[in-house]
Amino acid sequence: MRLTASELGIRPFSNDRYFGGHGACPGCGAVSMLRQVMQTVGPKAYYFILASCAGSYFPGEFTVCDSSIIFTVYAAGFAEAEGMSQALELRGRTDETVVAYSGDGGAFDIGLGGLSGIAERNANVLVIVNDNQGYQNTGGQQSGGTPRGIITKSTQPFHQVPAAARNRKDLLELLAAHRVPYLATASAAFPRDLDAKLRKALTYKGFKLVHVVTACLNWGFESRLAIRVARLAVETGVHPLYEIEGGRRYRLSYEPTFAPLEDFTRLQRRFQGVDLALLKQDIAERWEDLRYKAARAWPASARQSA
């Protein structure tokens, strides 16, 4: 009989829901985020995993967590999760959570149609987007989530669109336009905030999504620094922590120190030669937009309809 660390009571991980044995790169920023997600969501959950690096976070032959894992072909995971949630509802199994877990490539690009579809149908699914800003499982190519100016493995330095002419997609804004119940950004470096947002998300029956920027070793940093890099993404304002209820009500959940952008970029090879002035302008404009939206008061009726 095979026992898990928690069944054996091995401390300090005996209460963990995500155990050792995964196959991610040592130091992968996504894995600590995933551990926190599983901890909060609890074991009565089904995770639909879109093709991505998560294929190595959950090996195929044994189970490194106490939830059920279902791998899907790349673009199909969102709609599969919706179908499962429909079946569970028909069968009266309403105490179980259906999660769709995707990379940025899955959510921003190849699966965007499916994500939009289940948002429009308000599927009772929790979506976790692990945004490592590129197609990392295939070695680090450009996705719709790659910041402008970065040379990835699929970017031709000589033929690329000028950095000023291309921008990273803003996933939360895309989904806010669907007016879904709950959207949030979060970070593995802010575990209490992540935990609180997941708990809030799960109070909603319907579509909810938590968008987490995690640090990937393909960014070119020392493997011990994944959490520091993730923290700096927040503190420099690159990754604002906020939530949107009903697609309208914005709330900033953390006021960063606005550390210089260079503190974040200096640690990573991928920013070599990137025009930081453009990125700084993006950050400033984004924050201005978010503050404007967060300050806006909505009449009570709009709140209720959310």
Binding site: P43, E61, T72, A75, A76, A81, M84, Q86, G113
Partner: protein, 405 residues
């Protein structure tokens, strides 16, 4: 035959329905509670029929790709799901088709065949959409009548669940989807008794966490899983016959994977699937009146390829032609290729020709079938090296090594 034992046969009513309505009814009477849909001609008729049902929750998806993905999720959640499509919709699903079969989920999907956007757009019937899925591990049944569509939808559910493989139930677009015929619809209770509860041996269960559909550790594991699927597709011939026995006892209709018509003493045999059989049967009837020994062998499935039944019905010395409402560019008709490869070494001394007909919805008339019969009567082994085409201009042949000019 079970008809002689009226005690066992469920009561039924005769109703005039289209093939599309027959398909929707089969799902509904089987107790399917949910459907994921996306419109495409000619399948839309099924969708519009089912939308009128109070009992089925019909969910409009955003594409066929996501419709079948959601249907997969419904099966993972332990429920049957109705799903049906045509043409472009089916090929858009193709990535998920492999996944469904590989996951061994017994999904049953309806297809009203329509020609693909190859050389042009058209709405006409042609089987290349479903046959494009030939290698996925999905079983594929083909119907000629609305009754066939109704019966095979129910049979497919039971067979799929017995062998843990998904199944397509196909019929020619318009000829079947839109034409009304009188068919026999059994009582709901009997249909429910026949299909039973969905039974899948291994489903996700949060009280027993496990991982589904991940990466294999060794190539050998992948090899073994693939070989196993092949064996189960072949084995589904026998499973079908067992399931069909239960069907016959309950509903009084004997269903097989091939249906012989005037085959007993036939010297010339035409094999065909779907609506093509109608014109061929008509011509066979006329020829029989003239004393010509012609027969029709209707093909009701390509997966499983009904080799067992073919071997029983075909005899050495016969001359046969397989009619295909489909074409694999560079090879010829797909049923013909499959059957001639499978029969090699099993039936000796058989002249077996292939003839492509009806592409894009070109009508196959009994007279055209007659032209083919005359050609077959005069043909010999040499004609086996040709791919024949029968269209509105008549019969012509292309050699397999012919130079393009």
């Amino acid at each position: 035959m079970a008809l002689d034992e009226p005690a066992g046969i469920a009561s039924s009513q005769r109703r005039i329905v289209t093939g599309a309505e027959a398909m929707a009814l089969a799902y509904e009477l089987a107790g399917v509670r949910i459907a994921y849909v996306f419109p495409i001609t000619p399948q839309t008729e099924v969708l519009e029929t089912m939308v009128r049902s109070q009992r089925v929750r019909v969910i409009p998806s955003d594409s066929e790709f996501n419709a079948i993905a959601s249907a997969t999720g419904v099966f993972w959640g332990g429920e049957r799901c109705a799903i049906y499509t045509s043409s472009q919709g089916l090929v858009l699903m193709s990535e998920v088709m492999w996944e469904v079969a590989g996951n061994r989920l017994p999904m049953v999907m309806g297809v009203f065949n329509r020609a693909l956007r190859g050389p042009a757009w058209t709405l006409g019937p042609q089987q290349n959409d479903s046959l494009f899925m030939r290698d996925t591990g999905w079983l594929q049944f083909y119907g000629e009548t609305a009754q066939d569509i109704f019966d095979f939808t129910l049979l497919a559910m039971r067979v799929a669940e017995r062998v843990c493989l998904p199944a397509l139930v196909c019929g020619d677009g318009f000829y079947l989807s839109h034409q009304k015929e009188e068919i026999e619809i059994p009582d709901e209770a009997a249909v429910r008794a026949f299909v039973g509860e969905l039974a899948i041996p291994d489903l996700p269960d949060s009280s027993r966490p496990a991982t589904f559909g991940g990466v294999v550790t060794t190539a050998q594991q992948y090899f073994r899983l693939s070989e196993r699927m092949h064996r189960d597709v072949v084995g589904s011939q026998d499973v079908f016959l067992e399931v069909a026995k239960g069907f016959e006892v309950l509903f009084g209709r004997r269903r097989t994977l091939t249906e012989p018509y005037e085959m007993d003493d036939a010297e010339l045999v035409l094999m065909a699937s779907g609506a093509t059989c109608g014109a061929v049967r008509e011509e066979v009837k006329r020829r029989r009146r003239r004393g010509q020994k012609v027969g029709l062998l209707k093909l009701c499935s390509i997966r499983p390829l009904p080799v067992g039944e073919l071997v029983r019905h075909l005899r050495p010395g016969q001359k046969a032609v397989v009619l295909d409402r489909n074409v694999a560019a560079g090879t010829g008709g797909i049923f013909h290729c499959e059957i001639s490869a499978a029969l090699r070494g099993l039936v000796d001394d058989l002249v077996l020709l292939g003839c492509v007909t009806g592409l894009g919805g070109v009508d196959l008339t009994p007279e055209a079938a007659g032209e083919l019969i005359d050609y077959l009567a005069a043909a010999g082994p040499a004609q086996q090296g040709l791919v024949h085409f029968l269209d509105e201009t008549g019969l012509h042949a292309v050699g397999r090594t012919e130079r393009c000019d």
